[in-house]
Amino acid sequence: MENQTFYYDNKIVKNFAYATLFWGVIGMVVGLLLALQFIWPALTFGIPYTTFGRIRPIHTNAVIFAFVGNGMFTGIYYSLQRLCKARMFNDLLSKINFWGWQLIIVCAALTFAFGITTGKEYAELEWPIDILVAVIWIVFGWNMIGTIIKRRTGHIYVAIWFYIATFVTIAVLHVTNSLAIPVGLFKSYPIYAGVQDALVQWWYGHNAVAFFLTTPFLGLMYYFLPKAANRPIFSYKLSIVHFWALIFLYIWAGPHHLLYSALPNWAQSLGVVFSVMLIAPSWGGMVNGLLTLRGAWDRVREDPVLKFMVVAVTAYGMSTFEGPMMSTKTVNAISHFTDWTVGHAHIGALGWNGFLTFAVLYYLIPRIFQTHLFSRKIANLHFWIATLGIIFYAVPLYWGAITQASMWKEFTAAGFLKYPNFLETVTQLKPMYATRAIGGGLYIVGIVLGIYNLILTIKAGKFLPEEAASAPALAKIAGKRGSGEGVHRWLERRPVQFTIVALVAILIGGLIEIVPLYLVKTNIPTIASVKPYTPLELQGRDIYVREGCYTCHSQQVRPFRSETERYGEYAKAGEYVYDHPFQWGSKRNGPDLSREGVVSGRQYKPNSWHFNHMLNPQRLNEQSIMPSYKWLITDDLDLSTTAKKIRVMQFLGVPYPDGFDKIANDDLLLQAKGIADDLKSQGIQVEPTKEIIAMIAYLQRLGKDVHAAGMPTATITGK
């Protein structure tokens, strides 16, 4: 077959590489600001745009989708062309992918700062941006599969399998989890409610980790590690088992984020079993990566690319062991809602994703600029400072998590909670939070050194936008299976069919977990006393979502004595049936709020307390780390949206009476006046149409319906 000359598109690789570095710094600096707010809450500067609840989604989205996302595209666009021996399918699609992705990131940062959010973790984008994400993602997939189809190689290398799985799974997850009914351009309600919303959200949330932070990076590992080590992968057979086992098992594990919640026990158990099974393929991948270096370990000492890769793969191994352990109920009872989860997530993000991204950048930037890395010494310094940063980041959080969980669960000899004031358990952690901030700072210093090194490398080199390569054209291969050709061998050369089979593999787990929750009514027993929110409470709930209160406060009391003693009745599935979206949260920087409105409860506070607390939390408690929300007192409630919100809720099945939308604002003002009058009696003058009134109304509603049902506390085991 005649050799064909063609050109790799390095320009798109360069663009994504630059975007990776830029967004990496932004995302991590915002993360550092968040870390410092734990020590100095005043660092919100008294304005809404920098409060923890609003910038935490900026940090997580910037790191996941901007830094890691652009890093993923950099590596895929570079390796895919070379593995297919073909230029990208279409340059215009590449450009749309790049600029569209950057537009999404800018829109995300702006909307989150302005409080435009769905209130679902890692899926906070509102519906117009969600549609943009879907379009750009399809552009990426179209370009990728087009490139694979026009390849000049017979076999599709295993790295590309991981890229294909990434594309199809993220598409399914994103579309399914983002289904919502718009109230306006910047506000929507998800079609799911309560327990169902929680299951879909964490099916998405967990698998965003799996298929955005893991599978594409495993693909990059399978390409760049052999390249950097100049050795073939240790076991190709193992990579095949690794691939199918990982994508098949991962999709089932989402419910491990909802252990001890109101989610039915069978779904929790499925999540646990499949999470534990996940150790096998995850470690299979790690072992395959590390053993590729057999005979090349001496080079690890010298080569910064290999150094970064070794720590990345090791961090992957650590976090994929830790994850299944945290998924067992025994460990989860301690780790959930604490900083353990944050430490775990950062071992993955900083170690696995961060280090592998920099390994890829250190590998490919000198090559596309036809030069050597400017300084190995600086790269090594980056490596050591960042490694130290990870340790300083994670260790204090593990320490803090166990400290806090122990304090939450400790009883006196007389049988009372030893630390009934939640704040005591937070102030105890301040030294750990300070050390974590130092760790994060060190990691950023490492990145700045890395960027400096790469800029000098770029300056010293000459960019090669069109890189010549040659390969024989791919001989026409019959679509049907050849004689003696197995089904899988046939699939390995048929990208479209391969994509369909991968899609089926990932759909099985999702369908088996999610469908029964909708079809079998006994999964969510209803509670007669649970009623829809009043219009004022609904508006207040939307402010709660807007301010990201769920980033610090859970609304889910677990069935432990330590929790029912502290907060009140444990969570029931039926109490969340009108919650679009659910607001269970995943981390307690402050106490659970789901029983806040129970007048006879342990968490109850009067309206005046809430007013003063929102105005200045430190005036009520000097040690509080909550920021002020003083704008709620001066900002007017947007009454123009009430009727539309009620209509959307009715459409979603919330049983407001017919025509209620027309009188919703009258109802709202009546309830608001009651709260304003109560505040006035306490010496606080505030108009009933201010946002603070709606927020107070919502907080005072929490838990009331379950309490009204007079539910006996069930038998509770352990602490």
Partner: protein
């Protein structure tokens, strides 16, 4: 844990059973496939990243 999956909860135990059967069948077939692969093919596939015939493959 497994008992929770298989026990009768609102007639959904069939889902747990189906999932476990799919799991076992899926991996049995997968293992059989990988065992049956030819050595030469596997060696060729695993060398793919190293055989890209482009300028960048030169040592820097």
């Amino acid at each position: 844990m497994l008992r929770d999956i298989f026990k009768s909860v609102g007639n959904i135990e069939i889902y747990g059973l189906i999932s476990m059967i799919i799991f076992v069948v899926f991996f049995t077939l997968l293992i059989l496939h990988t065992v049956s692969l030819k050595k030469k093919d596997v060696a060729d596939f695993s060398r793919m990243p190293l055989d890209d015939f482009s300028d960048e493959s030169k040592e820097l």
